[in-house]
Amino acid sequence: MATTRRMVLLGGATAAGALVVGYALWPSDRIARLNALDTADGEQFVTNWIKIANDDTITVVIPHCDMGTGIFTSLPQMVADELDADWSKMRSEQAPPDKLFANGALVEAFALNGAKPPAFLQGLADNTFRFVAANVSVPPIGYIPQITGGSSAVRGTGIYGMRVSAAAAREMLIKAAAARWNVPVEECSTAECKVMHEASGKSFGYGELAAEAAKYSPSPTPKLKPKESYKYVGKPVQRFDIPRKVDGRNKYSIDTQTPDMLYAAIRISPVFGGKLKSVNGDAVKGNRGVEKVISLDDAVVVVADRYWRARDAVATLAPAWENGANGKVTSAEITQRRRDALNGTSLKTDVDEGDTAAALAKGKVIEAIYEVPYLSHAPMEPVNATACFKDGKLEVWAGTQDGLGSRAFCAEAAGLDIENVTFHLTDMGGAFGRRLPGQYNFLTYAVKTAMALPGKPIKLIFTREEDMQHDFYRPNVMSRFKAVLGEDGLPTAWVNDYTTDDTANPQAHILYGIPNQKISAVVVPTHVPTGAWRSVEASWHGFFAETFVDELAHAAGKDPLEYRRALLKDKPRHLGALNTAAEKAGWGTPLPPGTARGIAIVESFDSIAAQVAEVEVSDSGVKVKRVVCAYDCGLVVNPSGLTQQIEGAIIFALSAARNGAITIADGAVEQSNFPDYEMIRLADCPEIEVHLLETGDRVGGGGEPGVPPLAPAVCNAIFAATGTRLRTLPINGQTITKQG
């Protein structure tokens, strides 16, 4: 084993700058296999993910999807710095869905080295190992597919993978040049895609050296650059993908075109878990273009020569469904079940510090119940996939948040060996968690449709209505808080009992140093499928905890900013973010009547986000006028791209806070399209100001942590403006009156 495998370094710098080194399996034929899989003429893999062409072009092969977050530019920025590249030579492209590009190599690396991967990588491992183990033939230690989620691309793949791989590649290029010149490597330096030998004045372009460089083993300990010498990381580099996203050229899943393509539209049992009892397909068989009506276990599909013909035909069918007991479930009943569970005996405690019972007995207990509704992801591109089953092989085109995992999933759905499945991962029109593993109903139906009508590619597109009614929703959850204040007004006890769909939520643990704390969860399953929605559990625990803290500040007669400052006095990074947001927002300065500010701070995905919302409450409703966000993720790779993500997160959160609610009646989702699941548009978009901070040693995520503080900041502002405390969302539809 040891003689047939080499090791490649995958590691990261610790606070002190020393390397924490991990090793991934690096079979000696890896470069040859990479080259065979994914190179054009004149290209050469040097290390994992990094190809160098004859003309010095450097292509970073990204083991993630492009759902709009800008990582196809920020990851190359990290590579360019460690590789001493010329930015004009940098490119990026999608990794093929192959085990060679499984980003679980990062976790393997830690596992093999006996080290513990960072918590967020463990999360990926836990979530995906189970799936992989069930679906794919894997090496003994397994591998993680190509997940894009958990705000992990830069802080995971970038920091622990690409940066190190690039530094190793640079050293290999130097070795190759030094060998050609027959000089010590110490005499060589690199800049702008060249290795130089100062004494002789000679130089080689990287392209001339790539093939020789690739023959060396990547060093397990390449020297990483100090942050001060970065040329590209930290700069607002323009995204590679934007020019092709302004003229209609960028291809998404729904744009897949193949010869002889057919189109499919679907109606799925409106009640989750319901079954198709019967459907009279003959009703549409004479329709122009209709090829086939396919009855599935829980859906009916019409395949036609054009999409609108399939869509119109399936709409006219009258399927009969077998709903079972789920057909009677309502939102009110689900809420009641959650209340009952909080009063029941099944709560499991995962934080129990001090003596909360004794502390609660010492003062007036402040108690409040919070609840948030189900939410749909509603990406602009409704879920869809194209599949073709021909001669025992399956070919699929789709946008998902895990290309390799999707390939395995389709193989399982079709009952085929993974080697007989080709999966083309496309760009996607938003995802926000909708296209993660566990939520692939669109792949299942596309594959089943293709299997039922072999020989032709069939593009199955959910209507917006099917997309909204067959999502995997942000869970509807509830929290009940109890707290007691000490003489200084700060809480001495904090009790949080909350409901959850599956497991305890680490995000329920609070930032604040309160001496007596008890945090307990109770699982309340329902028939409504749930999944990860941008910022996941932070989206509700952030709202719950940061609004309840505001209640405590009010009870103590303290300013909400001062109150949080006192609670965070030993946490300089959090204080820094809080103070920055407050200062930039002009906290404490006068505002017009009816307008007020609210503040909130949430840490998630290793990033700290503090937001101040300025909100006007008038007869015409609630208007969020301005949001100021201070954001500390430790290292900013692309300030323009990161700011985009935070602006987007704020608007995503505001749509949900203001309008978002998926409700259940007769077991099915009541909402169906944007009129009853409304989004923020330009008219309601506040002015947004983002201030980026870079403190601390850990690099945090960028895609999600901007979401959680928005709802509590807005609701705290509404309270400051009116005295009305909102403990549920959305805001619209609730009575907000000026209190005494």
Partner: protein, 150 residues
């Protein structure tokens, strides 16, 4: 049933039903996929195209109703290289996933033709398209910059 369409300066005779939605005819018959499907009920604007210079939502437009009219898609306005709107979109780094941006750009382009210097309010009243990535602040900045140039 043949419908004669003029799209991006080219004439196409398409054999479709009179009430076939213009969006799907553009996408599936003419294979111009820059125009996007978002909601199917004229709510989100991802399907925005120009008919005789006016921004319309093609997902609910029966194809026969635009026979003989001048239809322009995102591919049509891009044919001569980036327009000032597209250049501003790049400069202000507007798109994220990019899916709604064809419709956004078509809607903004139509607005600027009749009102080269819209206020924020005029922009918001005219461009009611949905973007789930939340690119509105940058759209507003880009249009402010275009408006300043007049």
């Amino acid at each position: 049933m043949t419908v004669r369409l003029s799209v991006n300066g080219e004439t196409h005779d398409v054999d479709v039903e009179d009430d076939a939605p213009l969006l799907w005819v553009i996408r599936d018959e003419l294979k111009l996929t820059g125009t996007k499907f978002g909601c199917g009920i004229a709510q989100c604007g991802a399907c925005t195209v120009h008919v005789d210079g006016q921004a319309i939502r093609s997902c609910i437009t029966p194809v026969a109703s635009v026979a003989g009219k001048k239809i322009t898609t995102i591919e049509g306005i891009s044919a001569g290289g980036p327009t000032p709107v597209q250049e501003a979109w790049i400069e202000h780094q507007v798109p994220q996933c990019g899916y709604c941006q064809s419709g956004m750009i078509m809607a903004v382009t139509a607005l600027l033709k009749t009102n080269p210097s819209p206020t924020d309010e005029e922009l918001a009243a005219s461009v009611t398209n949905i973007c789930r990535c939340g690119t509105y602040p940058r759209i507003r900045e880009a249009v402010r910059a275009l408006a300043a140039k007049g």
